[in-house]
Amino acid sequence: MMTGWTMLFYKEVLRFWKVSFQTVAAPVLTAVMYLMIFGHVLEAHVQVYDGVSYTAFLIPGLVMMSVLQNAFANSSSSMVQSKIMGNLVFLLLTPLSHWSWFFAYALSAMVRGLLVGAGVLLAGVLFVWQSSVLNFSLMPTQPLWVLTFAVLGALMLGTLGLIAGLWADKFDQMAAFQNFIIMPMTFLSGVFYSIHSLPNFWQSVSHLNPFFYMIDGFRFGFFGQSDVSPWLSLGVVGVCLTAVSAIALHLLRTGYKIRG
């Protein structure tokens, strides 16, 4: 049932690795820019949790944001490019099952997300180390939570990217998906702030955003403090991941937009 999926996974990893300057180095640089600007401006003015400086709060948020955005970018761009270039036919002609497609695309997206996330974290550590003002450790207090949320979040966005890639017929449709759904959801998830600092209405809205739970749970692994319980976050992320996976598998099984 799963024959050949490892080769597709390998191909998908190699695909982004061959252009790692754009797919890994560039997003790390973007995150470092956010870190320098927001960290510099807000470090002295904002403190979210007791004993946690703003920059320390910001770095895990940026790491997770990078994980999510790059996981999404990987599967979505691969799928939509293959569809538009027409080379998806090489996969359509094979006996690869919908499970194989699903695992190959989701896991390769996860690999890119985690790789970029690791790069951003490393950049964050260097940033703190070279600073004369900042004085804290980025060592996670509960690394298992960090890993769990990074993996689940990356898988979820990799799967969403796959769905978006199957759905979009043109690059501008993909850009719309990214700009109107993925970007607002990541920015409104508490990457740059604690949602407790928001007015009540926006707090309630944020609680409907699954991205909030990914970032909150991920941050809990670093500081042992979070806006909601990590177990609640785990539950929400688990349910969402199951739901998007079911949708992606259904679309692949029926050949939605890829088999006429």
Partner: protein, 305 residues
């Protein structure tokens, strides 16, 4: 058991202008080891039929079996037996030639396939391009790569959808020698082409498709026999009178009349002379598949009217 069995395959597309029937009850078998030609004008439904066979599209009704395996319900098993060369010149710009072939092997679960990959590269004249990126290949080389990718898992049934469109003569020869060799070694070949002389030279049997229906299905020899045995061909500088033109095939200055015997030939020439025209470069040749093809397509036009 036939290699491929099309069983009343129909396909209707929903378009903005309403439903369009691309295939209408197509039914024929391709036997194991055959070199089979599928001919028809543009829009006849050839590619749609191949797409359904390959699992790229679903039939609205009917079914297709490959070695007795249904392509819709047991798709994985059926696809393992098929090597399909798509019509569009597609490639993955991220990878080189050898990588693309390794991936394709892997998708079919074929491991340690380097020997066969080397043989494919060699037979298709791509050996020195193995480490070139797909983008660097010329159109003809990309076309040969499509063939290599289709054959990487050694399928018993090879399907070629217009593989020689836009390919130069030398390359066409290399390609056909290789495919003919595979056919001699037992592979079944289903070919669609616009080059009728190619089909005539290679295919043992031929099906002709028009408006989604099979309008002729016979061995190439029988199809040629059934057609007028000779063709009278000459050039004219002026226009043929309408009464004569209706019987002839006119391509620019070249006029061709189907003819069975000397009397008929004399009659045509006399009619041309009476019309005050001067036939040049007169020759009489054997009918070929192109004549059969045009005959068959023409007959069905009249029926349709």
């Amino acid at each position: 058991m036939p290699a491929i069995s099309f069983q009343s395959v129909s396909k209707t597309f929903q378009t903005a202008r309403g439903p369009f029937q691309a295939l209408d009850g197509v039914r024929f078998d391709v036997q194991k080891g055959e070199f089979f030609g599928l001919l028809g004008p543009n829009g006849a439904g050839k590619t749609t039929l191949i797409s359904i066979l390959a699992g790229l599209a679903k039939a609205t009704s009917g079914s297709v079996l490959v070695h007795g395996v249904d392509v819709a319900t047991q798709s994985a098993q059926a696809r393992r037996m098929l090597g399909v060369v798509p019509q569009e010149l597609v490639f993955d710009p991220f990878f080189n030639v050898r990588e693309a072939l390794k991936f394709q092997s892997g998708y079919f679960g074929v491991k340690h396939n380097d020997d066969w990959i080397d043989e494919l590269l060699h037979s298709l004249g791509l050996a020195d391009k193995a480490h070139h990126n797909m983008r660097q290949l010329s159109g003809g080389m990309k076309r040969r790569m499509l063939v290599a990718q289709a054959l990487v898992h050694k399928p018993p049934v090879i399907v070629l959808d217009e593989p020689t469109a836009g390919v130069d003569v030398e390359l066409r020869q290399t390609l056909w020698q290789f495919i003919a060799k595979l056919n001699r070694e037992g592979s079944t070949v289903l070919l669609t082409t616009h080059y009728l002389e190619e089909a005539e030279a290679l295919c043992g049997r031929i099906a002709m498709l028009k408006n989604g229906k099979v309008v002729a299905l016979d061995s190439t020899t029988e199809l040629l026999k059934a057609a007028s045995s000779n063709v009278l061909r000459f050039k004219l500088d002026a226009e043929l009178p309408p009464a004569l033109a209706a019987m002839a095939r006119v391509t620019g200055r070249i006029v061709q009349f189907p003819a069975h015997d000397a009397l008929e030939i004399e009659r045509y020439l006399a009619a041309v002379r009476e019309a005050g025209l001067h036939a040049q470069d007169v020759e009489i040749r054997k009918a070929d598949l192109e004549d059969v093809f045009l005959d068959v397509m023409h007959q069905h036009e009249e029926v349709a009217l």
